[in-house]
């Protein structure tokens, strides 16, 4: 009996004891009808081959281990970025349980969201009654300033009309007539979570700017000097938005962050649960129409939102999750150009420090091959940074990336000698990536938590950058934007490189001659 009160064994150690190992071996042999181990080994080896890769890439219908989620997740993420706003997802309730769990597992924070809990009867008769009751309950219980409605695929398949339903709900007294209930149709079978972010944000902006679904006069734009800022769906939203606010502060820019969820996903433990915290005020959301320009940090999260804003007469500028020196340069210079404010010396010094750090360390990264996967903008941002570190991106994959994205990545790669041996894989999944890593190995893999299966199977060390990160804590509190953010990304990459060198040079009298104390 290995367990003891003195030294309690966790699952890590408990099941490795002889009692359990014997038991499990016996279970397998006697009852599992296991495959011949030689056959398992043969298939395991075969799955590493170019032949398997070819079959794997010939897949037309099956998706295995995708790196994307569905629209409503992005809608919920955007909605909680507004002051005292509760996301209300119209459709089946299980979906909401999933979004809340998913966000909580990444941020290690509460995630508040309600569902209209549609079931079979709603599938037949439509979900109008669920909307009427649901809005009334949410309004009374959670006292939100705004309820932002989106949809699950169930409501989309049966064709529920949010605009009409919300109107009827107001007529039935669920919420006051003038109460803000912006909405967005977010079908899970179109696009991904980044599309849902875009649709939800567009819905909210449209609501405030364009007459609240016909219930208020449209706003007239009187241009001012403010800048609107949109972060997009971003696992680093907490650290990033704070960093961006600091940069705006340093530059003396008057700004509005749209969908600012940096507070609600980082509330203190001090005895009080804050269901709501921070967020763009509804007044600011409305007044954002008057801004001089709107900056989106993620083009593919704002494909519909930015044209809507541009149509109201603002300049718009989109970036691709800018990481590193030149991407941050471009971001700051755009800010400076639009606002007419100079980039302060302090930021120039931060830039110099990042360049200093790159100069100190790039020898360890130069020429190393990387595979990257993640959301379309993040892939672009990381690829750009790797190129300026002298690394060689080799595989870049976005399950939710399309043809236009792939062309954009290719253009970036073409701009650098370090991007010459790289291929771009739009619409592919992590099982494709597995074949790539076996047949065209790289030194490091950058991706989210699910990359750990690729690391285990292919031996490619994983650098966790992306969403979701479930198995490492608190990285979302660090920015990856700005020069400071670039420094964080640099350190994460370097740490993994050094760990990897140490881990492969630590066998005494065999490989310990490279086990250096100074690197």
């Amino acid at each position: 009996m290995p367990q003891s009160a003195e030294h309690v064994l966790d699952h890590f150690d408990l099941f490795r004891g002889p009692e359990y190992q014997q038991m499990l071996a016996n279970k397998k042999k006697m009852f599992e009808n296991p495959r011949d181990p030689a056959e398992v080994e043969r298939v395991r080896e075969w799955a590493k081959t170019p032949e398997y890769r070819e079959k794997n890439f010939a897949r037309e219908a099956l998706t295995v281990n995708p790196a994307k989620a569905c629209q409503p997740l992005g809608a919920v993420f955007a909605a909680v970025g507004f002051e005292q706003t509760i996301p209300f997802v119209h459709g089946s309730q299980g979906c909401v349980a999933y979004y809340r769990s998913h966000l909580s597992r990444h941020f290690k924070e509460p995630s508040s969201c309600v569902s209209s809990s549609m079931t079979e009867d709603a599938a037949v008769f439509g979900g109008l009654n669920n909307m009427i009751d649901g809005l009334a309950n949410t309004y009374n219980m959670y006292k939100p300033k705004m309820i932002a409605v989106s949809t699950t695929c169930m409501a989309e398949v049966i064709g529920d009309d949010l605009n009409a339903f919300i109107k009827t709900s107001k007529e039935k007294g669920s919420v006051p007539a003038e109460y803000d209930v912006p909405f967005a149709h977010t079908p899970a079978f179109v696009g991904s979570h980044v599309t849902g972010y875009d649709n939800a944000l567009k819905g909210i902006i449209e609501h405030f700017w364009d007459g609240k679904a016909g219930t208020a006069p449209k706003l007239e734009r009187t241009a001012n000097e403010k800048i609107n800022f949109i972060g997009g769906f971003d696992g680093y939203t907490v650290g990033n938005i704070r960093e961006v606010k600091r940069i705006f502060g340093l530059m003396g820019i008057d700004y509005t962050i749209l969908a600012d969820n940096s507070e609600v996903f980082d509330t203190p433990t001090d005895g009080e649960f804050r269901m709501y915290d921070g967020g763009t005020t509804l007044e600011d959301a409305a007044n954002a129409i008057h801004a001089k320009a709107t900056i989106s940090m993620q083009e593919y999260c704002t494909e519909k939102t930015l044209p809507l804003i541009a149509a109201h007469g603002q300049e718009v500028a989109a970036f691709n999750h800018p990481v590193g020196v030149s991407a941050t340069d471009k971001f700051l210079m755009t800010l400076s150009r639009i606002t007419g404010k100079p980039i302060p010396e302090e930021l120039a010094r931060e830039r110099g420090r990042l360049v200093d750090a790159v100069a100190d360390s790039s020898a360890h990264i130069h020429g190393k091959k990387f595979a990257i996967y993640g959301d379309p903008d993040l892939c672009l941002g990381l690829a750009g940074f790797l190129l300026e570190l002298g690394a060689e991106p080799t595989h870049i994959l976005a399950t939710n990336g399309g043809k236009a994205w792939a062309e954009k990545v290719q253009k970036l790669l073409d701009s650098s000698p370090f991007g010459q041996n790289c291929h771009v894989y739009p619409g592919k999944d992590l099982w494709h990536m597995r074949s790539l890593l076996f047949t065209e190995p790289v030194d490091f893999l950058i991706g989210n938590t699910y990359g750990k299966y690729l690391e285990r199977d292919t031996g490619t060390p994983l650098i966790r950058i992306g969403f979701p990160i479930f198995d490492r804590h608190h990285h979302h509190r660090y920015p990856v934007w700005g020069y400071q953010g670039g420094l964080n990304v640099l350190v994460w990459i370097l740490d993994r490189i050094f760990e990897s060198i140490d881990a492969t040079t630590n066998v005494p009298a065999k490989s310990d001659y490279s086990f250096d104390i100074i690197r």
């Binding site: 009996m1 367990q3 009160a5 003195e6 309690v8 064994l9 699952h11 408990l14 099941f15 038991m23 499990l24 279970k27 006697m30 009852f31 296991p34 495959r35 398992v40 298939v43 794997n56 037309e60 219908a61 099956l62 998706t63 295995v64 995708p66 994307k68 089946s92 309730q93 299980g94 979906c95 349980a97 999933y98 909580s104 290690k108 508040s112 309600v114 209209s116 079931t119 009751d133 649901g134 009334a136 309950n137 949410t138 219980m141 959670y142 699950t152 695929c153 169930m154 899970a188 079978f189 179109v190 433990t269 001090d270 005895g271 009080e272 649960f273 269901m275 099982w431 699910y450 299966y453």
Partner: protein, 500 residues
């Protein structure tokens, strides 16, 4: 540091009743009437907990419940390790449930084992418009090509499948025929069916009956020689290794476990289960259906058991042994005796640190009642409990065997109610899920996830109880809870505060 004031049972009942009245005030009248039926103060001697259950959640209240897909793919089928489970429909459902439940297994993932993978048909608009049957058929071909060592396929339906009129049964039958009778199981667990995960469990159980049991040739030779001591573990999902720390006890007492349902389970084990002499059932809620079916069709008795905490484990081992001869009965006594010193040592170490601490639970399946004994073994008291998706038979078992007079009962609790109850009762520990964890920790209340064991476990069996005790101590007596108030602000607010 218990913050609960010492109250008599009568005072507790009055407080709890007042608390229920108070939370109901927040609702519109119609909702208050409906929610009132789910909240109660347990009266000793009553046959159930006096709450309505297994009825629709109310829109907009922030229910904690999930859906039928979660009950089938996430709970029952997902852990069957040598089969490939297709999340059939849009990408999200499979993505959010991907490897999230810690159903431990042994196997070569991606080659002969597939639990921690996400297979999806990733529905696009055209699949909704034109139907997904052809795509599903092609997916099965591609699975056969790329994952040749899979022992079977299940189709886990997401919401759109039932709405667009796809015939997944026809596709499954045709492909099964094409692949020499391969086990291919269509499961109609669309998320909008039923009121919670619970119907998904039932649908998944029925799918095993119809598409696994009923396909076994009656004259098929058994894969092993039967013995009089063959049992199957039903309703243990091997979270953190729970089924393993249970199996070892059954084997030590002389029984032979021929199948695990479904944690670390395989198709062969499902198929062999009708040969068992007894089905031992841990999660009654999710697998009573198949147990009843096997009783009716194959004459296999089933026996509920509880492997949380030494008191219930000993009681359960004896109960299981009572179905067998003296050899097994003696075996049970030997097992109990063998682990007694370990249990004594665990209790001696942790009980003094946990004595008198109060707990509020809100979980799924069997846990709102089953873990009460384990807390009591540590001198702790469960002062409130409720089921996410329980039925009245769960509340009957709870009332008759577990909860104390005056316990606050909340069925399908809403976010608002749970926060208010905890704020007012101020328990020393809350045990619930990931969606609740950070809410209560912000309030300064120690918390353990009682679905995933907070990434710890196992909690079942004697080996698991040591971990359970250690974890509860770690949660409650962590120094962090002394730091939640800035010292210069210590007197400003009550200790716990729910969001307004």
């Amino acid at each position: 540091m218990s913050v609960s004031p010492t109250l008599s049972v009568a005072e507790i009942k009055d407080r709890n009743k007042a608390l229920i009245e108070e939370v109901l005030k927040v609702y519109p009248e119609k909702t208050a009437k409906r929610r009132a039926k789910h909240l109660n103060v347990h009266q000793e001697g009553k046959p159930d907990c006096g709450v309505k259950s297994n009825i629709k959640s109310i829109p907009g209240v922030m229910t904690i419940r999930g859906c039928a897909y979660a009950g089938s793919k996430g709970v029952v089928w997902g852990p069957i390790k040598d089969m490939i489970h297709i999340s059939h429909g849009p990408v999200g459902c499979g993505q959010y449930s991907w490897a999230a439940r810690r159903n431990y297994y042994i196997g070569t993932t991606g080659i002969d084992t597939f639990v921690t993978m996400q297979f999806t048909s990733d529905f696009q608009e055209k699949d909704i418009v034109f139907g997904g049957d052809k795509k599903l058929a092609k997916i099965m071909d591609e699975i056969q090509e790329l994952f040749p060592l899979n022992n079977g396929i299940t189709v886990q339906s997401e919401c759109p499948i039932g709405l667009i009129g796809d015939d997944i049964e026809a596709v499954s039958k045709a492909k099964s025929k094409e692949y020499d009778g391969k086990t291919i199981v269509p499961v109609r667990c669309e998320g909008f069916r039923g009121v919670s995960q619970s119907l998904g469990h039932h649908i998944a159980n029925d799918a095993i009956r119809d598409w696994v049991f009923d396909k076994i040739a009656p004259d098929a030779a058994p894969r092993f020689e039967p013995t009089p001591y063959d049992v199957a573990i039903i309703g243990d999902y091997n979270i953190g290794g729970d089924a393993w720390s249970s199996r070892i006890l059954l084997e030590e007492m002389g029984l032979r476990v021929i199948a695990q349902w479904s944690g670390d389970g395989s198709l062969a084990e499902l198929e062999a289960t009708p040969k068992a002499k007894l089905n031992v059932l841990h999660c009654y809620r999710s697998m009573n259906y198949i147990s009843r079916h096997m009783e009716e069709k194959y004459g296999i008795p089933w026996c509920e058991y509880n492997f949380f905490g030494p008191s219930k484990i000993a009681e359960s081992l004896r109960k299981i042994a009572s179905y067998f001869d003296d050899k097994i009965k003696e075996g049970a006594e030997q097992v109990i005796a063998k682990y007694q010193p370990l249990m004594d040592a665990v209790i001696a170490k942790y009980r003094p640190r946990l004595e008198g601490k109060t707990v509020m639970l809100f979980v799924g399946g069997l846990r709102p009642r089953h873990v009460i004994g384990a807390y009591e073994d540590l001198g702790m008291e469960v002062v409130g409990t409720g089921y996410e998706f329980g039925h009245n038979d769960d509340y009957q078992r709870t009332a008759q065997h577990y909860v104390k007079d005056g316990t606050l009962i909340y069925d399908d609790v809403t976010g608002y109610e749970f926060e208010k109850f905890v704020e007012k009762i101020q328990p020393d520990l809350v045990g619930s899920g990931i969606k609740e964890k950070y809410v209560f920790q912000k309030m300064g209340v120690p918390f353990r996830q009682m679905h995933s064991w907070d990434y710890s476990g196992p909690y079942h069996g004697y080996d698991g109880f040591a971990i359970f005790a250690r974890d509860m101590d770690m949660a409650i007596n962590s120094p962090v809870w002394k730091m939640t108030k800035a010292p210069w602000k210590a007197e400003e607010q009550p200790l716990l505060q729910a969001a307004e």
